[in-house]
């Protein structure tokens, strides 16, 4: 029995020493682990499909143990908690002594964002909720989770869009000019480049005339312009003092359509 007791004593001591060493080295490794999410450097930039929100982060593994299965999931929801995008970044392994410096990119597809559900986002600034969920496995033994929420501003590309005035001017003996003045501010980080087509409908919802213009509004600039359309003098009585304008904004990537009142 004494030999068994002695063996158990040795086993216990060896295991205690191992646990204490693991604890000390783990704590040392964690305190030397530099994980940073730089929210101040977070930015939007244009991409081929829309905009990309870039969230830079770095992990310097200065400890004694590997980090594995790093998974970063980001969800963006609007102020009504409707999911806009869900992005994921996976880093299989960060061996000890190495570092990872990258950005977690959240793509916002403008085709999605210009759907009816998100149309108000085109005309008014808002805020998005950015939820970040990080999981990793420390020393192949200790799973770790970190989650945080941040608010990021959304800047509308057609902020305050309005038809300022619809007026008529004589053109020739058969036609007159219908001048439609419109204005908006491009608050977005990307330039607005495309063709805008306007269709004027009178107060009994009959199409009166239509016309188009090309737009090139740089980021953070105000646009004030006129679209000139032509109307047969016979039909001039159909143009009422108030009505609606159907606006089609077309780019190679997407088409936006909305209605705006005039008069």
């Amino acid at each position: 029995m004494r030999q068994v007791i002695r063996a158990l004593g040795w086993a216990t001591n060896i295991l205690w020493i191992s646990i204490i060493l693991f604890s000390i080295t783990s704590l040392y490794s964690v305190t030397n682990l530099d994980i940073g999410i730089d929210l101040e450097k977070a930015q939007f930039f244009p991409s081929s499909e829309g905009v990309v929100f870039s969230l830079p982060f770095h992990i310097d593994n200065n400890g004694y143990y590997d980090i594995s299965e790093l998974n970063i999931t980001t969800s963006v929801t609007d102020c009504n908690e409707t999911l806009i995008t869900l992005s994921e970044t996976f880093v299989p392994s960060i061996p000890r002594g190495s570092s990872v410096e990258t950005a977690h990119n959240v793509s916002i597809n403008l085709k999605d964002i210009t759907s009816i559900e998100f149309t108000p986002l085109l005309f008014s600034d808002s805020f998005f909720d950015l939820g970040t969920f990080i999981t990793l496995n420390f020393a192949h033994a200790i799973p770790f989770q970190m989650s945080t929420n941040a608010t990021i501003p959304w800047r509308a590309p057609f902020y305050g869009f309005s038809i300022v005035k619809v007026s008529t001017l004589p053109y020739n003996s058969t036609h007159c000019e219908v001048v439609t003045s419109l204005s908006f501010e491009n608050h977005a980080v990307l330039d607005i480049t495309g063709t805008m087509q306007l269709e004027i409908y009178n107060n009994i919802n009959e199409q009166v005339t239509s016309g188009k213009t090309s737009l090139d509004v740089p980021s953070r600039r105000k646009y004030e312009g006129e679209v000139i359309m032509y109307l047969d003098l016979v039909d001039i009585s159909r143009l009422t003092e108030s009505g609606n304008v159907r606006v089609n904004f077309m780019t190679p990537m997407f088409i936006l359509e909305w209605w705006s009142p005039y008069g």
Partner: protein, 155 residues
């Protein structure tokens, strides 16, 4: 006269034990408290966890004194068994069953942390179970020897 002699004998037997136990308790305190303060992340953890650190030191010192005070008796092993059980319970409580959740404010935002220490807790429980087995075997061995000695003296 006989009673006085008995009392003196008891005092002679107890006082060195008490001193030995107190000294052992002090040494244990020094060996446990100071090295742990060097590695224990006081600044990273909430106040409640720092209090639990003092509870751990108290448990270890208390059982060190108790086992030394009753060394050579069955109570020494009883306290050893109690110590392992108390420490298992302590670790289970402190590590919240192996999953620790913390909410830390970091530069204006709230960061929720979840640490899964179930593997680590299993290791701690396993070691303490080994220590428990050892203490039970020691107690059995102690009793067996005592019975053996009493039987020999009867013969």
């Amino acid at each position: 006269m006989v009673e006085e002699g008995n009392t003196r004998a008891i005092i002679k037997k107890i006082v060195p034990r008490v001193f030995k136990a107190a000294l052992w308790g002090f040494i244990t305190y020094l060996l446990v408290y100071y090295p742990l303060t060097l590695i224990y992340p006081f600044e990273l953890l909430p106040f409640a966890y720092n209090q639990l650190f003092n509870v751990f030191v108290t448990i270890v010192v208390f059982f060190a004194v108790a086992t030394k005070l009753f060394s050579g008796t069955i109570l020494e092993y009883a306290f050893s068994i109690a110590k392992t059980l108390v420490i298992i319970t302590y670790f289970f409580y402190v590590l919240n069953g192996g999953v620790i959740s913390l909410t830390v404010p970091v530069s204006g935002t709230t960061v929720n942390l979840v640490l899964d220490l179930r593997t680590f807790l299993s290791m701690l429980i396993f070691v303490n179970l080994l220590a428990l087995a050892k203490s039970i075997l020691q107690a059995t061995d102690f009793l067996a020897r005592k019975v053996e000695a009493s039987q020999l003296s009867v013969r």
